[in-house]
């Protein structure tokens, strides 16, 4: 197994808040971010600045409130969106790149070569502002492996510090995850972003981490699109004594209990 010290990228405020019906005010976002920062989460994906002025204001306040965690601004592969993330003061500018032909063809209605071209332009804009660039491969688990490799090489050449491998629709198995992450060259930091559609997000994250990934994405209570993301509490329970995230499970549990009323305002979704 590779290095036992691993790091959490919390996306409660971005992917988590995209759960239907979830909506945090600026004050609530800051409260959650401060708690995550105190807990020892290394990176906080605080939202999507392109959503508008309120999201940008939340970003600025989160940046001021957090002392240790790096704050990530999530972006589509779009120069306008990236400009807003930069203006909000995000430490890390994350660019999400559709990797599967299904998303490239059906959603973006574009081509692989156009994706690569746009990504290069986005990277240049981020470097011009001297910000850290991370790149996410959306729907990588359903993508053609040759194109994934090309995107990884491109990400490295464009100066991305971290490559996020996303199982966007949560269809991977632990053995597939292990085989896939093991094949990625170790000249770029790997982050795994697992969804829970088949109930295997925690197990897949563990296998990704054991196969060389440095970061795992997670959310409080496992909230997120559809069946959610990797649940941070469950990940810590499952890896106790095996992997070190620098986060205390006890502290997470009491902080999470404090945040429950903010996260679940009207809903009986928790189980």
């Amino acid at each position: 197994m590779t290095n036992r010290r691993k790091y959490i990228v919390d996306t409660t405020l971005r992917d988590g808040e995209q759960s239907p019906g979830m909506a945090f005010s600026i004050r609530e976002k800051v409260t959650i971010a401060k708690s995550l920062d105190a807990l020892g989460v290394s990176r906080i994906e605080a939202g999507t600045p392109a959503m508008g002025r309120e999201e940008c204001r939340a970003f600025e306040k989160i940046k001021l409130a957090c002392q240790k965690a790096q704050i990530i601004g999530w972006n589509r592969m779009n120069l306008g969106d990236i400009s807003q993330s930069i203006d909000c003061g995000a430490d890390i500018i994350h660019v999400c790149v559709p990797a599967s032909d299904l998303l490239i063809r059906e959603k973006l209605r574009t081509t692989r070569s156009q994706v690569l071209e746009t990504l290069s332009a986005c990277a240049a804009a981020i470097h011009d502002e001297k910000r850290e660039l991370t790149i996410g491969l959306e729907d990588a688990s359903r993508a053609d492996w040759d194109f994934v490799v090309l995107l990884i090489e491109t990400a490295r050449d464009l100066g991305a510090t971290t490559l996020r491998f996303s199982d966007t629709v949560g269809i991977m198995s632990p053995s597939l995850c292990k085989a896939t992450i093991s094949r990625i060259p170790d000249n770029i930091d790997i982050e795994v972003h697992m969804h829970n559609d088949l109930g295997m997000a925690v197990a897949n994250s563990i296998q990704g981490l054991r196969s060389g990934a440095k970061y795992a994405d997670s959310t409080l209570f496992g909230i997120g699109e559809r069946a959610g993301n990797c649940n941070l509490e469950h990940l810590l329970i499952a890896t106790q004594g095996q992997l070190d995230f620098g986060i205390s499970l006890d502290e997470l549990q009491w902080r999470q209990a404090d945040l429950k009323s903010i996260i679940y305002k009207n809903k009986l979704t928790y189980a």
Binding site: R76, E106, K107, S173, L198, G199, M200, V202, A203, A227
Partner: protein, 327 residues
């Protein structure tokens, strides 16, 4: 074909369950792909069983038993007279010896029929080697019922089947310490389709009946069966799903008896407004104003807006009214 054993009815208080509900629950479990249903002796009397065909007495020894489906030929042969209803199910001895053993003591297994329980922490161990040891132990029947205290039971169950395991025990939803049945069945249908013949479209009905029988609500975001898992709110996902649902769905919602729904919330985009209001000629500025109001309301309320609330809000914005909407 792998054997899928469901243990749900062994885990909660079944005293108040009617015969009709019990039979319906078992029927739905078989329909969705379960091979055997494990039951406690006190449930025997509430199954609609033709006694002559069942030979119940020998089962009332305090042990759990398995309910299995009869093939049509076997059902005909078990019917004593044409007036007697055709039996659908039969009882089978549960003669599996349960063993909750640490990984270090897996070998040797000296019993002929074994159910391995626990092993919750396999995901952080060298589980392929452990499975290899188990599968080469020479046991005649080897069922595996992985524990879920580490939240990895489904993954362990599926890795077991991929490694060559032929029998797995589960329980419906995650209110107990078993691999959630619905997750195992869906994973099986996607990754080992040749080993799966069930109809998962009954899962939605099964969830409702489970909630009634157990008195426990299923989480709205529970994988496979949660009520909210096919609701789509964020602009990026709505855009993708409207172009082609496969972009952001792991499987068609109808497969599990559900349906997708575009909902309006803080993360909605213009496409959602146009889709919901069915007004293709809505101006850019009107859509922008409506969207702004939706985001504001949803942030205040912490929930989605209903279609009625949207229409009211849209007409207010379009008529340039400032009346407060009481949601």
């Amino acid at each position: 074909m792998v054997t899928i054993i469901d243990r749900t009815l062994t885990t909660f208080n079944t005293a108040g369950i009617t015969s009709q509900d019990l039979n319906h629950f078992c029927d739905l479990l078989f329909t969705c792909g379960v091979t055997k249903i494990e039951l406690t002796p006190d449930l025997v009397a509430r199954l609609n069983f033709p006694e002559t065909a069942a030979g119940l007495k020998k089962w009332l020894l305090g042990r759990n038993f398995f309910l299995t489906q009869l093939t049509p030929i076997a059902a005909d042969s078990m019917r004593c007279s044409s007036k007697e209803p055709k039996p659908l199910w039969q009882l089978e001895a549960n003669d599996l010896l349960e063993k909750n053993i640490p990984v270090s003591k897996i070998n040797p297994l000296q019993h002929r029929k074994i159910r391995i329980t626990g092993l919750d922490d396999l995901m952080t161990r060298d589980y392929p080697a452990i499975f290899k040891t188990l599968l080469s132990s020479g046991v005649e029947t080897l069922d595996f019922c992985p524990g879920n205290q580490k939240h990895c039971a489904t993954a362990i169950a599926m890795e077991w089947l991929h490694a060559g395991g032929q029998s797995i025990s589960c329980g419906f939803t995650n209110h107990h310490n078993f691999a959630p049945l619905e997750e195992v069945l869906m994973s099986l249908s996607l990754s080992l389709p040749d080993n799966f013949t069930g109809d998962l479209s009954v899962l939605s009905e099964l969830r409702s009946l489970y909630e009634k029988l157990s008195g426990q609500p299923v989480s709205k975001m529970k994988a496979i069966i949660g009520e909210d898992i096919f609701k789509v709110e964020s602009g990026i996902h709505v855009d993708g799903v409207l172009k082609n649902p496969r972009t952001y769905e792991p499987f068609n919602p109808q497969t599990v008896g559900s349906q997708r729904e575009i909902v309006l919330g803080k993360h909605s985009g213009r496409q959602s407004i146009l889709y919901k209001l069915n007004q293709p000629d809505l101006s850019e500025s009107a859509a922008h104003s409506i969207l702004k109001q939706i985001k504001k309301r949803c942030s205040q309320l912490g929930r989605n807006l209903s279609d009625l609330e949207l229409r009211t809000l849209a007409s207010e914005v379009q008529n340039d009214k400032q009346t407060e909407v009481y949601c």
